[in-house]
């Protein structure tokens, strides 16, 4: 078994200097990566439970959905939001590749573009989509309103957190804290962002699309 040590290791003389210069073997995953993976797992489970709740409440005793004369959700704005959010994963991926290949401009530009697209998503959501919906119903109207605003709101909060992470990564990148060997923060920020995107697909399918059936 070929072992890759990050440094000089001599069991018998029992001295070891953590020099930490070589990148770890690509197969191996650092603790921080596992930590993020598990964090995402918990979060995904939360959303999973919420989607299950949505369908449970809908099918339990609601013959008409949306109830109380609320109209079928229109798809225009949400599709536009999807466009912003889903494309934002591409620059994020470029940033990730950039840091791995040591291309700092890719990194910085990717993060910035992704950030702007994410902001765009939130602007449409809070500036256009929500006001329109609130004219029709509120979380207090009935269980449909409660579900709609909870799930979209929670997702929006996740976008916000993702943006905060992105900003963090930009500051670090600007200060030159990432290089080919040290960029776990960047990987984790990207992983979280992709996760937020994927969840959006489910939010979209559940809240905007599924009522048509």
């Amino acid at each position: 078994m070929a072992l890759e040590y990050r440094g000089r290791y001599d069991a018998m003389s029992s001295s070891f200097a953590p020099t930490a210069t070589t990148a770890p073997d690509a197969r191996t995953r650092e603790s921080g990566w596992w930590g993020m993976l598990l964090f995402i797992t918990t979060e995904a489970t939360i959303f999973g439970v919420l989607f299950a709740t949505y369908f449970y409440l809908r099918f339990k005793n609601m013959p008409v959905w949306p109830p109380d004369g609320i109209k079928q959700p229109t798809l225009g704005l949400p599709l536009l939001m999807s466009a912003f959010l889903l494309t934002s994963s591409i620059p994020m991926h470029i940033a990730e590749l950039g840091v791995k290949k040591g291309k700092q401009t890719w990194l910085k530009a990717g993060l910035a573009v992704s950030f702007l697209l994410g902001v765009g998503f939130l602007v449409i959501m809070l500036g256009f989509e929500y006001p329109e919906k609130l004219k029709e119903f509120t979380p207090q109207t009935d269980v449909y309103g409660s579900l709609f605003f909870l799930i979209t709101g929670l997702h929006g909060t996740h976008v916000l957190v993702g943006l905060a992470m992105n900003a963090w990564a930009q500051v670090k990148a600007a200060r030159g804290r990432f290089d080919q060997a040290h960029h776990l923060t960047m990987l984790n920020v990207a992983a979280y962002w992709h996760f937020v995107d994927v969840i959006w697909i489910f939010v979209f399918l559940t809240l905007y699309f599924s009522p048509r059936f």
């Binding site: 650092e30 939360i46 409440l57 009935d142 269980v143 776990l184 923060t185």
Partner: protein, 626 residues
Amino acid sequence: MAAIAERLTSIWEETPGLASWLTTVDHKRIGKRYIATAFVFFVLAGLEAMVIRVQLARPDQALVSPDAYNQLFTMHGITMIFLFATPILSGFGNFFVPLMIGARDMAFPRLNAFGYWVFLFAGLFMSFSLIIGKAPTDGWFNYVPFALTHYSPGLNIDFYGLGIIFIGISSTTGAINFIVTIFKMRAPGMSINRMPLFVWAVLSTAFAIVFALPSLTVANVLLELDRKAGFHFYDVSHGGDPILWQHLFWIFGHPDVYIIVLPALGMVSTILPVFSRRPIVAYPYVALSTVAVGIVGFGVWVHHMFATGLPQLSMTFFSAASMMVVIPSGIQMFAWVITIIKGRPVYTVPFLFIIGFIVTFLIGGLTGPMFAAVPFDQQITDSYFVVAHFHYVLFGGAVFPIFGALYYWLPKMTGRLMNERLGKLSFWLIFIGFQVTFFPMHIMGLLGMPRRIYTYQAGLGWDVWNMISSIGSFILAAGVLAFIVDYFFSVRRGRPAGDNPWAADTLEWAISSPPPAYNFESIPHVRSREPLWEQPGLPEEIRRGTAGPVLDEGHATVATSVLDADTEEILEMPGESSWPVVTALGMLVVFSALLVSHLALAAVGLLIMAWGIAGWLWNTGDVTTL
């Protein structure tokens, strides 16, 4: 040799004083804190139970008002489950998992500290409610619509809803930390099939937490939105549904009982072989059943809802699943008993508690599949028979092993042996007291006594049994008291324990008692499942610095691969930090603000949290070890 110890000490020892009390990240100090804090909660909840037992000793008593009684039994249940059983087991995990796997700390030491602070603050938050007489009154599973504002105005239920979300943060971070620690920090050579069974158990538990807790969190978020913001998730008149709460709660609730019992079973599988003087029988089966319980446990939750009028098909399915979940427990039960048969048992106090566990858990386990038989459950659910079942499995399955573990491991933690005489006295009082308290509850249940009643009429055949039960609870309390006395006596006067007083096999016994700040002078290379039995020279090698890497030039430990535990890299571990406690304090502010619906204050709390997290991450360099 001494030189190595000195160098490592200078690297690993934390600065003494109050400041380091707040900033420590040492898994041993944190573990001890978890255990001590949780034990205090145990005594509190136990005292609440004593009031309950006195109130119920005779019919038609009015020692406490109905409202006070409801607060007491609710806080008793919540405290025992969320503030005692779960955290004390993570306390043991914290202290011993790194030692058992030959690591110098948990994977994320600061996250570990954070988890403790959140647990402490959430515990204080919830307990505060009882002090101001506004404790939750809807039982530990808090059914709606009773828990909605219309029937429960006031802060009582909000202490529950917010407190549970709060403490869930601690459990989740703890679980993630355990998983990564066990995946990545095992000493070289400790492949997955050489892990001590306690470590297996902690691992399955942690996974169960990751998947179960979100459901509870969501349930309580919906509840608080209904209560505080006028949402309608549980409100029938606006399309909500009260049964939704029951599903969400029990999807968490049933896995949770295994979350509690699994680490305890792991302790049994670790301690029992030591005193049977042989390795456990059928190790692979035991390890796999640990995992199986964790998984199958997710498919049985509806057995708590058999009386709600669900479709018969669904009941049939969950009945079958609930019977299936028995099998892994059966495997473990027979593995333990056969280990004793094939071994040469030595009757020390920890071993007595383990035997007490076998007897008690067996009885409690056997009433489990009875409920899985739907018609019987429909007859007996929500009666004292259920109260009997769950005390037999919770106290029998978790608390007996915990006492066993305390007697077994306290010498390692304090460096002093406990007193055998007092220990035996404590065991017999607890064992006899327990049976006398809880066995009659089976009969009370069969005689038609519902649970959660603050009093009952005379002449229904319940009087005698309640009296017996209440008497038993005093014997039980005396046993707990004997343990407490023993502890305080032993930490001062106990005989020095030495490194390995029980001649045990796992790595924590290779080092001195109490363990030094750096745990291992050199990280051992593990070649077997029972390292100290198969490699008798190991402790000496570890001490001399020849067992493996010493890593004495930085705050470092070894990271290994997930399955085979091949060395991968050297991790630089973070040192003391004040950011975890700051972040946790911010959270306390947020939750307290939400409790009183003070949004501005909540924003302040969020800012404190953000500040804490930013400070924390900024000093991390690259986030490999939070």
